[in-house]
Symmetry: D2
Subunit: 471 residues, 4 copies
């Protein structure tokens, strides 16, 4: 997790000197804490005392702020083991007061209907873990919100393995969910006029189609391209999520063409399609706090008003997991949708195998996409498999197995088109067998599509895609 | 409550057209609701349906936003009775699900120690009233946060009388407390360069020393004056709380002198005192959500850095409630701290009365402050009474009875000086017998003072003030 | 000239401390100058030395800047007589070098055709008065451009009487004309969101319809009103010229109705007319440097794009000078366009007088506009007189005598309508006999109208107005 | 002139569509002009007509603006030959009216002393070439000022060869000199937070030490580095001139060390030296309009205030022309300052040559700086030669022959140090024999140094440098 940690270090560097200043401003007489990188037992006693003072708001708000800064300072000077110990300590010592909860529960059982509200309120209060209040105090520090976001990024994998830390992670998530409510976010367009310091972050955060260099970045910000991101007022230099759009004529069916530097620039006012070809979450510490859904719709809304000639909004999306899924079902022997006819050519290369197995083996063994004959033999069976995978393969809750499909279907989009050899990059071939999908956003039907999908009804796809399902 | 309602109407006017646009944008097919101003029974059924759809996020985020806008539209078109009915409906129909709470409580009682956290989390979820989620959706609307703040302003007095509404008020307070955490607030200086539209609001919100006209306002923003306010990013044109400061030489002991238009302007870089002579909460809908405490300290901090020659930070504050208190204790006959000697002159005017009663009667019967002799006769007894009132009169919890004293003492300030005939405005005479108080903020002792005050120890006052207590 | 001087003093106050700082920053060793308020003979020697050093750029740019600041400091500390002496000195000592000019002239007479350009360039250089270079240096000082503008304001009346100062005034005008080229000006809309410090200036600069108070100002900035101004980047807080616009339905024919606070606000998107009801030059020091012409057209352009439903752009303008003109021609006896028939009623009141004389006398003797009968008797003759005055009365160069008519006709507008009793304010009655004029700006004909007017052809007016000319 | 032209094309592209819109907005009925790329004779007639109409302001300001846009459009669609023809036409047809000048000259010779001013003013007017007024109109167009700057860039080399065009070039220079007066320029710091579109221009405009890539650029904007530039309000996205500063401890004597990416970042508040290591003019079209002088002093001023611990301001500058000069004087045989002793080692390599000739030959024949022995043998003679070149070699007017030395000496700096092997880049070795110079800016002596230099007195250098002059 290279970038995560490098960013953590950066946040660390920036915030640290500011915090040190706050913490050591001696007017208020808050004793400083020093500690070993691994946070030994002695340190822990000291830190707990400090946390307790912070919670008691001993000395008022200003002292509390100093204490928070001092604790942050300690945290940042710890090594990984020390940080985990620090968080564990926060979990153990400042969790919910079970006795208080139990008392409130007893009161609830004895309460009259008319007092019910007041007692529920008491129970609510009792359930608040003191650590939440402590964490809240960081938001008053410069870069304090980013600090908590990055803290959660580090905490998430620990909490998966360690039951004890799960409560803290959940508290932090609740806190950040409140703060990052979509109403507080600002949509901003990112252009070549944006600060270099911001653009530089896009290199690191881009998760779908790697940005090679500044020339490549500039090309993605040309006059017939757009980039939009959500920002939070307390993290104004950090994009939360961003999406790349190409303004073109006709739905794009090839991402290399879209990203080609030598392609002539189109005239945005003459384009009729907006193609969302990449969407990336930038803050791992905000995972499972969703605003991607809202982002696409806000962008559709803004582009519709700016460029009224655009009548089609669609994505050009990968099918990550397709190859892994194919491998699995071939191993299982659980799939049987291809016919000998449409797969004859590939079966000939792998005698004695089923159609599915043959396809899978060819994919693994050959640089098939560079061989016209092979590619042409694979086209029909692979598209059938992709259609089946996207439409019929479901998770336990009835949602699409493929995460990208789930994201867009849940947003109310439909599967419009399977694009053959649409991404022949190494990653595109390896994960998606070179195919990409256009998900179509039609404003008029978004809501109904969304509800139909949530209700577990059949996935909506264009006639063309749907016809691939027939054997 | 004239201004509240006029502002409500303004917010209404501004937000309404924007919301109407969102609500009636028919792409998403949200049915509109119309209603009678009083919200009759039929309307209520319709509104409940709508609220339910909003909560179910039926149709996704965008539809939810439309539905919130439509509900807001209904709310704003209602009369007072209709709005109360609307809120009652929100309380009754979308409160906590008691059964869910009870089930979670049962689970808790049966849970193992190691599962305790997960069950507590379930209980926490169960205790969330659905109406909170509904209210949250308003923050995504333009002016939506201001809408909720104003809604709470209207709700507070209703909730005082009506137990049913108390839960809703409490939910709203919790929500706003989260959003208005001091870490999210911005301190801004307000100058004569500020937008007229913002300055205009100061006329309405100023709660201590009325601003007479624009000339008066300009005078309060002269080069040796300062005004600071807290703002919230989602209500950027609305001050939350603001404080007026005069930069002077020596502690001011008279507010009329401070506000005199004809006084020569001082040179701020030569001033040695910053006098906080008025602090006003601007948003009644944020009452009991405290940031005044933080405001003064942030301003002290900022002024210290800008003008290093300032070494004294003090207030010039009224004693609201002093006359009412005196009346009460005279009626009770419970007070007996004045001596016949120091009150001889006033006692002569009211034969047969105790010293306290005589003082009180003179205050009521005469324009005493315009009569030098009378004023001089009252000076000593009134200052003694004021010192006693501020230092010795306590509420149940041990805090100072006088609310202004409580605010500053709790902030860590001390009582430095009683200023005689410091506010001879009608209000000053009527409420505070013309006296004012300088509370002193010494950064080095603020924390200790605060703790001592919280611990219920004796109120800290200067030797001079304290000497007035001796009989 | 009260306001001029008060502003001069303000500019003085603001700039002075900054300039003092620059001037006395002793690193560069520029000797300071002190002087008596009247600038005595001794001071003059000192000042001349200083000016010379400034011109020689002795010590480089930074010293030159210091010297300019020091000279400005001296200038500002002088009284009126001293300032005039200062300017005279600048004229006398730093004017064109006549010998250099004469030498260049001799060279010109002897030059070959092919060297002509180079010699002309020499002559051009020789004609440059050194004082221009000296004045230029002020632009590098804070508020330096405003300083020169205000200096010219003071200089203009002196130069009218004093031939000697005329050269300096002309140089200053040339300099400012270069700097205030319309390409450098910014058009800004002024709203109720503008800084109070800026709005305050509108009170002082408004030259047509006095702004009574802040309530009145706010009313003129309501949603169906607009105010636009030109600004210069080096005087960003000072409007140069501004125009007030009302967005209404149908051409306005009464200014009191337009300015009425109690009138309901219109919906700008439904208006079909933009009425320019006042235009004021704010900087007397920029007189005869024209940008008013451009302002109206830029505003027409901007409003057309913002509010496409507006199809009529017209003014509602006074006829300043009309009454004075009438007086004059009655005294002269030079006018004879009214008939006994249409003036019978007024002639009856002033037996033995000509129709013109009778009308003029009634205007002077009675509060005629409050007397329905009188007003109705005056309506026809006065409108005839006004039409004649506007259309037929010319100055030497063939342009309209009335300055407002000249301004709009020269811009390409036409006279569309005479509005009866359109301005019954004291000033409106006194100067324009209560009448106002709608000048109409039709984009399609503006250029032809302008050329026709410049060519001295007949003034273009609507049929209705023109019909008033017929006897 | 690759970059010039690519930028010209960009300005062309940006401005063109805006201008086309203005030009073809048909309301005002300005006829459009079309032309062949080479501007044939027929076109010229058409263009002259158009220019004449533009000058007559036929149809008022708005039409004039349209006509200017249409002319600009024509200009931009021409090829190089066509553009030269266009400019020639402007020169020939719209130059000074010689007859008018001659008449004014006659009037001057006959004028009385008291009318002299008025006649001189007439002469001044007569000398104004109409083309100046025409060029001025471009400033009202978007990017119009940049258009004129780029036009002058193209014109300068033509004017050098073509006497006819010299007048136009001179007019344009006068116009731009007025507009780019230093008082109108804004000093801005450029950081990594600046728009990428602006930073990108630094790559192209940097004239001293090439910026290799974005990493290199970022390194030059690190926390212990500064970049400052002047901007003009009408060309806000175009730097005019910019300077790079390194904040270090002790005077830097090696530019490769300064630019090393791997060097640790210093703490600016602890630095005691600011080293100006590169200054570049960005706009070739503004050549001979000087503001570099002011830039350094403004930056010194700003840094002094921001970082009071910095007590030394010096450059690290190349000696461009040194090698060329050495070649020349060796060929001439005119130099004879080295002794056989201090040059023995190099003379041994080139038997039969003078010391100077030997040094020069070694520089040409060997990669001497990579050979320690050779380098050490050259050190003393080369430093002597450099000192002599910088201090003693003068141009006709008495100023330093080396242009960089002239720039800094004229600014009031002194020669403080010769840095041996301070720039071993290919260019550094080739032009400056690897040496660099520290020019020192001492605020206290700047003015005196400047005057002494202007007066032709001996160049001021440190004792150490001066000692190199002694034989």
């Amino acid at each position: 997790m290279d970038k995560g940690s490098s960013f953590w270090n950066r946040a660390l560097r920036n915030a640290r000197s500011a915090w040190d200043k706050i913490a050591t401003d001696n007017d208020g007489g808050v004793p400083s804490i020093s500690s070993t990188p691994g946070l030994n037992d002695e340190d822990r006693v000291e830190v707990i005392k400090h946390m307790q003072a912070c919670l008691d708001r001993r000395g008022g708000e200003v002292s509390a702020r100093k204490r928070a800064a001092a604790l942050g300072h300690v945290y940042m000077s710890l090594n990984k083991a020390g940080r985990k110990r620090f968080l564990t300590l926060l979990t153990d010592e400042f969790g919910t007061d079970h006795d208080k909860v139990d008392q409130a529960v007893v009161m609830l059982s004895q309460s009259q209907a008319e007092d019910r509200f007041a007692v529920e309120q008491k129970l609510r209060e009792a359930l608040k873990a003191p650590r939440v209040q402590l964490l809240t105090q960081f938001n008053a520090l410069p870069e304090g919100v980013k600090f908590l976001v990055d803290m959660r990024e580090e905490l998430i994998p620990w909490a998966k393995k360690d039951k004890q830390l799960r409560g803290l992670e959940s508290d932090l998530k609740t806190l950040l969910t409140n703060w990052f409510d979509v109403g507080f976010l600002e949509l901003r367009q990112i252009t070549w006029e944006a600060p270099a310091a911001l653009l530089e972050k896009l290199f690191i955060y881009e998760a779908v189609h790697e940005i090679k260099d500044w020339e490549d970045l500039k090309n993605r910000l040309a006059s017939d391209r757009r980039c939009f991101a959500f920002f939070h007022p307390r993290m104004p230099d950090e994009p939360l999520i961003f999406v790349w759009v190409a303004l073109v004529n006709g739905i794009s069916d090839n991402v290399q063409v879209l990203l080609d530097h030598n392609a002539p620039q189109g005239e945005p006012t003459e384009a009729d399609c907006a193609i969302f070809y990449s969407i990336s979450n930038a803050q791992a510490g905000l995972s499972a706090i969703n605003f991607g859904n809202f982002l696409i719709k806000r962008v559709v809304d803004q582009l519709s008003r700016e460029l009224p000639n655009i009548n089609t909004f669609a994505t050009l999306s990968p099918i990550p997991g397709f190859r892994r899924w194919l491998d699995r079902v071939v191993t299982d022997g659980s799939l049987n949708i291809l016919t000998a006819e449409n797969s004859a050519a590939v079966m000939a290369l792998c005698p004695g195998k089923s159609a599915e197995a043959a396809v899978n083996e060819v994919l693994s063994r050959y640089e098939w996409h560079k061989d016209d004959k092979l590619a042409s033999a694979l086209k029909d069976p692979l598209q059938k498999l992709a259609a089946h995978y996207l439409i019929n393969e479901k998770r336990a809750g009835g949602t699409a197995e493929n995460p990208v499909a789930h994201f867009h279907l849940n947003n109310g989009a439909i599967i419009a088109q399977i694009d053959w050899l649409a991404d022949t990059s190494e990653r595109g071939i390896k994960e998606s067998a070179g195919m990409m999908i256009n998900y179509l956003y039609k404003l008029k039907t978004i809501d109904n599509n969304h509800e139909s999908y949530r209700a577990g009804e059949e996935v909506i796809a264009s006639t063309r895609v749907r016809s691939l399902l027939k054997i």
